[in-house]
């Protein structure tokens, strides 16, 4: 150990007190850092369900795939890619070069015979016929006029990710193979867009179209990223709203429109502008999955303040869908409150009973107990 290291250790081991348990007042910066350490979420237990799931996966993994086969697969994929690209490049080079190739007529008779046979085998792609190779040019390289603000992937109605979830998985949104010209052509022609996979199979990537779509996304993504940064990191909801206004003005039908709308609702809620958030939510068509389920619940909770009858529809739908316990808990409680307000004492009691059965330790459990006790007293 070097003297410096020894010095470090000597200086340190004597006072190696945990930041998380040190008394406040020694050093302000250390106090703040210690409070950050203390605020860290305690690790959640794996849980019985997760334990059994992992164990089941372990049992069913008959034999873990050896690394060598994975490596071989990688090499095979790399080889196929190289071979394919080589063939494509070769074909394109031939396409350019072949018509201008000089014809050699000075070869000796034997060589000339072989050349003639070779030319025959090439099936008419002979020098002096510049149109011949063009007929062999691969499909999918034809120019297709750009169509901005039109995203076949979105029109094909995929499951909409949440605003932040999109930013968390931007590569998927930007991945060029997810776009396809077949879906666009179908939409342009007024037909229903074919499923993504079939469209992809029927039409390989069109480089020009992909480039244009990527560039459109490249404009949208930083703007939405900026809004999300302000919203989530800086907690600057009004700043985020300004950026989202710019996004809305610039990309009224943008590919990331839905994610921007989700972020807008979060920002409005953070600012306490619940009425505006509700207005925005009422304009959204919500799918029965993912973040949309939570947005539907938020819409119901916001509407419940003034319009319990309107909120009931959303509460009912959330509870009819497969939702997480976290959402189900809120929805059950919300519906019970609304039913109570609407005079449906029986329904409210049923919901509260169901709530206590499913979430005996839930955060609304004390309220539910009180309400049920009150209902029994009334009877």
């Amino acid at each position: 150990m070097t003297p410096k290291r020894a010095g470090d250790r000597g200086q340190f081991t004597a006072s190696a007190q945990r930041w998380v348990s040190r008394p406040v007042g020694h050093d302000e910066a250390e106090d703040r850092l210690a409070s950050l350490f203390r605020a860290v979420e305690p690790p959640r237990e794996l849980g019985a369900g997760a334990r059994s799931r992992v164990w089941a996966r372990l049992r069913h993994a008959a034999r873990p795939r050896p690394k060598r086969s994975l490596g071989a697969l990688r090499w095979a994929v790399a080889g196929v890619v190289l071979l394919t690209s080589g063939v494509v490049i070769g074909a394109m080079s031939a396409h350019r070069w072949w018509p201008r190739a000089p014809v050699t007529h000075r070869s000796p008779p034997a060589t000339a015979a072989r050349s003639a046979a070779g030319a025959e085998r090439r099936g008419g792609a002979r020098p002096g016929r510049p149109d011949a190779p063009l007929a062999d040019s691969p499909p999918g390289f034809a120019f297709e006029p750009p169509q901005p603000h039109e995203n076949p992937v979105m029109l094909a109605d995929p499951p909409a990710p949440s605003g932040a979830a999109l930013a968390a998985r931007p590569a998927r949104a930007l991945r060029p193979e997810r776009t396809n010209a077949a879906a666009r052509a179908a939409v342009t022609a007024g037909r229903e867009a074919p499923p993504l996979e079939s469209a992809q199979a029927s039409n390989p990537s069109d480089p020009e179209t992909l480039r244009l779509e990527s560039s459109a996304l490249a404009g949208e993504t930083p703007l939405l990223g900026e809004a999300l940064t302000r919203l989530r990191q800086q907690r600057d909801a009004s700043g985020a709203l300004k950026v989202l206004d710019i996004y809305r003005a610039r990309y009224p039908d943008g590919t990331l429109k839905r994610e921007a709308e989700g972020a807008r609702i979060d920002a409005l809620l953070l600012l306490g502008r619940r009425g505006d958030a509700l207005t925005e939510l009422r304009h959204l068509e919500l799918a029965p999955q993912g973040r949309d389920q939570e947005l539907r619940l938020i819409r119901a909770e916001l509407a419940a303040a003034n319009d319990c009858a309107g909120a009931m529809t959303d509460f009912d739908r959330v509870l009819a869908e497969q939702v997480s316990d976290r959402l189900a808990e809120r929805a059950l409680h919300g519906r019970a409150v609304c039913r109570s307000r609407l005079g449906d004492a029986f329904g409210a009691k049923h919901d509260l009973g169901e709530y206590l059965r499913r979430f005996p330790e839930g955060r609304f459990a004390p309220d539910a107990h009180r309400a049920l006790t009150g209902a029994r007293d009334d009877l």
């Binding site: 150990m1 290291r5 470090d8 250790r9 200086q11 340190f12 081991t13 190696a16 945990r18 930041w19 998380v20 348990s21 910066a29 250390e30 703040r32 850092l33 950050l36 350490f37 203390r38 605020a39 860290v40 979420e41 305690p42 690790p43 959640r44 237990e45 794996l46 997760a50 799931r53 992992v54 164990w55 996966r57 372990l58 993994a61 873990p64 949440s162 932040a164 979830a165 930013a167 998985r169 931007p170 590569a171 993504t221 930083p222 939405l224 990223g225 900026e226 999300l228 940064t229 989530r232 990191q233 979060d266 809620l269 953070l270 939570e294 619940l297 909770e301 916001l302 809120r330 955060r363």
Partner: protein, 193 residues
Amino acid sequence: MAGARPAPRNRGEGAIAEGPLDVETIYCERADDVARWARRLGGPEIDVEDIVHEVFLVVQRRLNEWRGDAQISTWLYEITFRVVQERRRRWRWNRWSPDAVHGSRALDRLEIATDQPDALDLLQRREATALLYRILDGIGEKYRTVIILFELEGLNGEEIAALTGTSLANVWVRLFRARQKVMKRFLAWEKTR
């Protein structure tokens, strides 16, 4: 706060149970430890279930190679550490994506619709966790590991040395430097606020 954390069972001890050593026994005894290490080392973005599965796949594959010359906890920790490290290495690719701009995926769900006080508390805890792990991400793997095990996991120097297979002196040196680095990054972050 630190006291509220559940103490790891048989922390740093080699023996796990009487009888023959098989995957099922190790899994029953140590799955929670592995999950906790994975959560601590990987941070809020980690998929703990996935990591535990991967760790025990390695255990399944290499159990007959394990000769018992090290403590089982050290061996498991080593596997967990490598699996988590590999996963984090893969995540570094994501730094090229706009995701890095707005930070952690753990912040995705803003539970601000409900006006319950615990929702805000939950959000603040998640933000604090994400922030701390962003700070820790920049101090180097060996320092990061030691400070996580000491401050968050609550292990003492000897236990960290046993778990990581380093000397006690090395643990203290790393912890000392890790604290300096964390403080430096924390102050830099405060300046940018």
